[in-house]
Amino acid sequence: MIPEWMKEVEIGPCQCCAVNVGKKKSFVEKSISGALSFFQDSLISEGFAKRDGLLQSLDPRVKLVSAIVLVVAVSLTRDIRVLFAVYLLTLLFAYLSKVEVLFFIKRVWVFVPIFAGIIVLPILFNVFMAGDSLVTVATLGAGAHIGPIALPSTIYITRQGTMFAITFILRVATCVSIAVLLFLTTQRDVLFKSLRSLRVPKVYVLTLDMCYRYIFLFMDVVRDFFTAKKSRTIRSLSVRDEQRWVAGRVGYMLVKSLDMSNKVHDAMVSRGFNGDVKLLHDYAVHKRDYAAIATVLTFSLMLALISQNIIRI
């Protein structure tokens, strides 16, 4: 029944078999495990929304509107002291909402250097923004240039550039903190449904909700692809072969997701879906919600007035 070559059984590797250690993970493996750990984090962070904290007790629509208003107000603010005070307030609210402050800080600062740091980096140097010297980076001498672009004789980090960069990063960090706080203290489904209060069409709310649900499923499929490949990879593949494999899996995922979307649609139709989305949500607004929205609106107005120098501090 089975061919001859399949009847050969090896007891173990030969004594001379070398064991190499310390080889780094491949780019693909690192990317996939990074994405998976992000989703696992999301899963863990859903637990915060169920805790009995300050922000969890508020109506999701109030939180959503408050977060948007606050982000706009913070974006207008230029005073570093005010920004720092608002950032500290987000930490206080994280603490009062029973979110571990260290986890919260880490969650915010993972993204800030990536998105804000890279954008603001050139502003530090006198090449892009003139100012007083803080730290000299290089002395090039007169007439230095890169192609047609003339460079100053000394390249240094400016005091004004540094202040601008700090203000910018702090502003981004505060806005991200507000958004992260909203996500951590509100259940995803409730948060998505509260978008209806901003007149977002029902079909977008449903689609967003379903996307969030199926991302996890497809991440599991991607992980299974990679695990299956790893279990059958006897020697390392060339970069070209790896790229070909990734491209093939991307294509397969597209086909699989299309097939699944058809089946999910069938499942929805079978339960009476006819294109007219009906969502179940009822909210109860309490006195504390009115107090919260009034406080946030007043506070945001104050920030806007300070930013316009109408109120001086």
């Binding site: 259940q187 489904d189 649900r213 089946k263 079978s270 339960r271 009476g272 879906f273 006819n274 179940l280």
Partner: protein
Amino acid sequence: METIFDLQNVSYTYLGKFEALKSVNLTMTAGEQISIMGANGSGKSTLLSILNALVYPTSGEFYAFGKPVSEEAFNSLEDNEFGRYFRKKVGIVFQNPDIQLFSSTVFDEIAFGPLQLGLSKAEVKKRTEEVISMMGISSLKDRAPHTLSGGEKKKVCIASILSINPDVLLLDEPTGGLDPRSQLWLIELLQDLAKAGKTIITATHDLDIVEQISTRAIVFGEDHTVKADSNCDAVMNNLELLTSTNLIHKHMHRHGKLMHEHLHSHDGENHHEH
């Protein structure tokens, strides 16, 4: 008994060349418990999709509740009274729970059907709570589907259909991937639903459950035609039929209601003993 489904010479072909059903003639009446049996790829799931008006015969006629079922009639439920009636009366539990669980929480999943069928919000909530309680899944109601185990997902899938309260329940391989305790729970639930007068049509190749959940068995051959349509006992005792339709192997034996299989080697194919 009232005829609910009537298939007349129904055939179905995927992409114009892959045959899934061939000249099927079947009548199903209200209150029946039917097992649709067949090997992998014999057309069981396609038949369930046709019975749920999710796909339509490429040839032949399909009548449900005495009315013809066609794609045109089901394109939109908006102004289609029969379509709404059909969706209320017939529910399907898919083989893959991830297809069926598309909402972000278990509660929303179970509430989805009643909401779409136009019940009031208060009634939807009451019904959802009752089904959750009946199925013993109160602890899961705020959970996201991707955090559930296989057995839990199956329970939620069934709950999401029962909340619509269909008279006809279609199940595609319901015991697939379930552990013994969950299987037993499912069998008891289907028996209770049968006693309540529901029509239960199950596609399966799990012979262990057929006699427990159905009184009639329809067997599909690998050529996608109906090979037998009779009472369960007659079908389950017809070893020649079960062997020829690839439902059992010749080294799998039945002793009364018990079945077991012998490990065997082809080196001594004609020599095995009990």
